[in-house]
């Protein structure tokens, strides 16, 4: 129960199989698998929001298939860019249940480049599909 005592959370992992070409970005994100068909969606609970340069990142807890809680890290862009996308340092708080869609790492580490976040009521909080080049051209 140690994990529960610390308020960690939830989860199950689903991989969204989508069609499409590789995303492009001005700068290398070589560690992330940018293929659309590798986009991954996970439900989790926010652990920490790090609102700093060079890039905002957020951690969340989710259970893997064996029931073990895994701490994930999701990368965004700079704080200024996130403000332009409607995200502020107060948008997410520890304990918030969210659905994360992200580009996973090629190395298989529990990290991702965040594409989309949805609240339990279905509200899309942020959608970086266009910024990450994931829309059909």
């Amino acid at each position: 129960m140690r994990t529960l005592r610390f308020g960690a959370a939830v989860a199950f992992v689903t991989v969204a199989f989508l069609s499409g070409a590789r995303a492009s970005a001005h700068h290398s994100r070589a560690g992330y698998d940018q293929a659309k068909d590798k986009l991954t969606t996970i439900n989790g609970v926010v652990a920490e929001v790090i609102w700093r340069n060079p890039h905002v990142y957020l951690t969340w807890d989710a259970k893997d298939e064996k029931g073990a809680v895994v701490r994930w890290t999701g990368e965004f862009s700079s704080p200024a860019t996130m403000l332009s996308e409607g995200l502020s340092r107060d948008t997410f708080k520890p304990g918030d249940p969210l659905t994360f869609t992200f580009m996973p790492t090629k190395a298989g580490t529990p990290q991702g480049l965040v594409i989309r976040i949805v609240r339990p009521d279905g509200k899309v909080v942020i959608d970086l599909s266009e910024r990450r080049g994931l829309l059909e051209q």
Partner: protein, 298 residues
């Protein structure tokens, strides 16, 4: 079970049910353009930073500040300009000298296990695909990559402030000549300016040769030597538009001058510069928590 354990368990149960609900209701990502999400507004009486605005904000600001047809003085470059630099300024270089080729080769960094560049020698502070140490970008790399800049016109100098890395350069207009040779190399060079009609001409030299003109794809950066001289020609073609063209002469690195195409930079009337420091401790945390595990799997 202790009562103190009940609260987190209830919180967990609630969170899980909410998360499961989210899974059921969340629309699957698709290729459709997402609905526009409004940017975060600045505090009342303040303006957003250039990069904090989205395209809708910029269009609205142009209307609000009556940019189209606005009166202007061609010799007043004051204002906040652009939000992303002139990324096309240095793309196709003139042929290298042997020394220049050697210097360029040295900018190529390590690769990951898939053979993709990690940009490990890029010291620019851009945060994506490179481990950062907050070395200055220098000029003219700040021309190619910035988050917006501000020209401030003073009687004896023009100041160009850059939001990214929160730095500036001074362009002296009091008639002084460039030192030859410059006593110390500078990341931003030694800069003097003069008016040629309505064109503001900036000449500079005395650069620190550790900076790049800009990064290159898929890896590395265009180098320069301490002999580099730059001539910039800036012209305010209307209230809302700056035009700029640059000539880089560096015979130690390139066999011909590098003349950039004319580029335009839009006024950002609804924006003001915020601060965007490269904070070493923040960048170290990012490298440790994000960049290195993603790049190396460790």
């Amino acid at each position: 079970m202790h009562a103190r354990n009940l609260v987190p368990i209830l919180a967990f149960t609630c969170a899980m049910s909410q998360a499961q609900l989210a899974r059921a209701q969340a629309p699957a990502p698709d290729s459709a353009k997402p609905a526009a999400i409004a940017s975060v507004p600045p505090p009342a009486g303040w303006k957003s930073c250039p990069r904090c605005q989205n395209e809708a904000d910029r269009k609205q600001a142009n209307i609000q500040y009556k940019v189209d047809g606005h009166k202007f003085s061609p010799r007043d470059l004051s204002g906040v300009w652009g939000n992303q630099g002139v990324g096309t300024a240095f793309r196709t270089p003139p042929p290298f000298t042997p020394w220049g080729q050697e210097r360029f080769n040295a900018t190529l960094g390590e690769k990951n296990t898939a053979g993709e560049p990690l940009h490990s020698k890029d010291t620019s502070g851009e945060g994506t695909g490179s481990q950062i140490n907050c070395d200055p970008k220098g000029w003219p790399r700040l021309h190619t990559y910035n988050y917006g800049f501000e020209f401030v016109m003073l009687p004896d100098r023009v100041l160009q402030f850059f939001e990214i890395t929160h730095t500036w350069r001074t362009i002296w207009t009091d008639g002084r000549k460039l030192p030859s040779p410059a006593p110390e190399p500078r990341w931003m060079g030694w800069n003097v300016g003069r008016w040629d009609g309505d064109t503001f001409v900036v000449e500079s030299t005395g650069y620190d040769d550790r900076s790049w003109l800009t990064d290159t794809m898929p890896d590395g950066g265009w180098p320069h030597s301490d002999e580099m001289r730059i001539v910039e020609r800036w012209r305010r073609v209307n209230y809302g538009t700056l035009e700029v063209q640059m000539t880089v002469t560096d015979p130690k690195t390139y066999t011909q001058p590098w003349v950039t195409a004319k580029a335009t930079i839009p006024l950002m009337p609804g924006a003001e510069l915020w601060e965007d420091f490269c904070v070493p401790s923040d960048y170290n945390a990012f490298n440790t928590d994000v960049f290195l595990p993603v790049a190396t799997g460790k």
